[in-house]
Amino acid sequence: MTPREFFLNPADYGLPTRDELVAYRIWDNHFHGFASANPIEQYERNNFFVERMGIERSIAQEVGGTLEEPFAPYPFDAAILKILERDKDRLSGRTPIDPGFPDESCAKIEKWIRNGPCIGIKYPGTGKKAVTCSHPNNDPIMRLAVELDVHVYIHTWLKVGGKPRLPGGDNSPSESTPMDVAKLAQRFPQVAIICGHTGGDWELGVRAVRPYNNVLMEFAGSDPHSGMVDYAISELGVDRLVWGGHGPSRSYATELGKVLDADISKADRKKIFGGNLRRISASIFRKKGMKIEP
């Protein structure tokens, strides 16, 4: 079966056709195509689903090293760079850093963003030290982000656990919460920050970042809860939401369903599916010599 062969017409089921998905201009803010022991094979295989679901551009979360070892030499870096060049019309990348090592992080940003192809900074939740994004270590990284006019993506969760049992009590020591993001955003209001996974627990996460207009909430990598996008729009406004597929470990179906569930206009869906990400990325794309339509 080819990616564009369908035996169901989505319109018959109250869903957008592939052409309508394409018209939304979907930018996948959260792509794990290279997160695998065989990253190239996985990337190429996943393109079947990228094509099938009409994704316009994917932002890979691990370009230059891995989330677990962001500074270690990675044998697939050269091959991934070639793919980034080959598929530059539909693929971009963020480079992972670790605020436990601010100097190394800044050096990596210089290499992979200022002098390389990447268009964003990725904070994983797997740092070696117990340093989250609210720690002062982050300030030189953020100052560099200001200088480069580049957005920052931060993995966040609020895993319930601990004693007393509370949301965030089961986070790993380096795993940021949306409350950490709020502290960082307050210090650096000029940096566009994406709060990953809607904070993990969207009902609490949205409220944690609400006062900080430079924080956007990402719908990706969590279960699809009916009403979650409506809620976020009511608290944050539609201009502060971005969408991610989190594939291939998550399903585009899972993630698209969140936005399609919301009672919003097509224009607002277009903002969430890609318009808002294009807005905060326009400057860095321009610096890379790539003009993107808003």
Binding site: P10, R18, V160, P167, G227, S251, Y252, T254
Partner: protein
């Protein structure tokens, strides 16, 4: 080849599949794109996994049964097997089941099919099985281990499987309601272990046992052995990852598969907790042919529960 309509869908034509496989992809895309409007001939879907009433921890968007029914019908669901969120934490299971039966009658006769619940940890649960079957005329039961304070190794489990089998009831076993990482901190939902269920169904070969909201991952041979029983099945609501439905049945090329036979997979949305859109999109995302779609959308569920009304 156009996307299927109801007549062609029911024909289950091998010829149709062959024709599509040789068609020009660009032509197919153009034909699909041309069909902007919905067709009244498109085949409907049986949703085997919805719940009514209030989720205990959030006011869900489609918590009103009337609104939920309208939403499901909008997406061409033609029948929905309904459990009750009240069954998670209630002690009076008879009241839970009576309200569920009445709600289905009032808001979706012939559309909402009530699946009552029993709680093995509460006394006299056998009487609740009898009442669901004889008083409320329910075709099946749904249990929520973990929320209901027992695991599948409970001593009553084999008896429950036996009783439901003797009454011709479908037994739906729910493997979770939400990501444990976002549970309300006041609750500590127990684990649900799959192995004992396999043991329980082995001795009762005709038992109709369905896994709901089951990820399918990490069960290895146990899942294959479970699906080798004659009337076992699972819904798609918890299947995750690009092409997950196709991967489960082995139709997604190059991806590891659990090789669950397609005749054991049924549609389930987990609405109104999950958007119903998500489950339908899984059918579109996965590379599934006409026969596979027919089986998952309706055929397998109808085989489990023939329409008698």
């Amino acid at each position: 080849m156009k996307p299927i309509d109801r007549r062609n869908f029911l024909k289950n034509s091998l010829l149709g599949v062959a024709a599509v496989s040789f068609a020009d992809p660009q032509l197919l895309a153009a034909q699909t794109a041309a069909r902007g409007a919905a067709s009244s001939e498109a085949p409907g879907i049986i949703d085997t996994n919805v719940n009514l009433f209030d989720w205990p921890f959030r006011a869900l968007k489609y918590r009103s049964t009337k609104a939920l029914v309208a939403k499901l019908k909008k997406h061409r669901i033609i029948e929905a097997w309904a459990g009750s969120f009240e069954a998670l934490l209630s002690k009076d299971m008879n009241g839970v089941n009576a309200r569920l039966a009445a709600e289905c009658r009032e808001h979706g006769p012939g559309f909402l099919i009530p699946f009552g619940s029993v709680n093995l940890a509460w006394p006299d649960w056998e009487e609740d099985v009898r009442r669901c079957h004889e008083v409320h005329k329910m075709p099946g039961l749904r249990i929520y281990p973990g929320y209901q304070p027992f695991d599948l190794d409970h001593p009553g489990m084999e008896s429950l499987v036996k009783m439901t089998s003797e009454h011709g009831l479908i037994l739906q076993v729910v493997f979770g309601m939400e990501d444990p990482r976002v549970h309300h901190p006041i609750i500590n939902v127990g684990p649900v272990t799959f192995g004992p269920l396999l043991k329980a169904v082995r001795g009762i070969p005709n038992a109709k046992v369905q896994l709901l909201h089951f990820s399918g991952s990490g069960q290895g041979e146990d899942l294959s052995q479970f699906m080798a029983q004659s009337n076992t099945s699972m819904d798609i609501s918890r299947l995750e990852g690009n092409g997950a439905v196709g991967r489960m049945i082995g139709s997604a090329q190059g991806l590891p598969s659990a090789h669950v036979p397609v005749d054991r997979i049924v549609f389930g949305s987990h609405a109104p907790y999950f958007p119903v859109e998500t489950a339908i999109l899984k059918l579109i995302e996965s590379p599934l042919d006409v026969q596979q779609l027919q089986a998952i959308m309706r055929g397998n569920a109808r085989r489990l529960l023939p329409r008698t009304r």
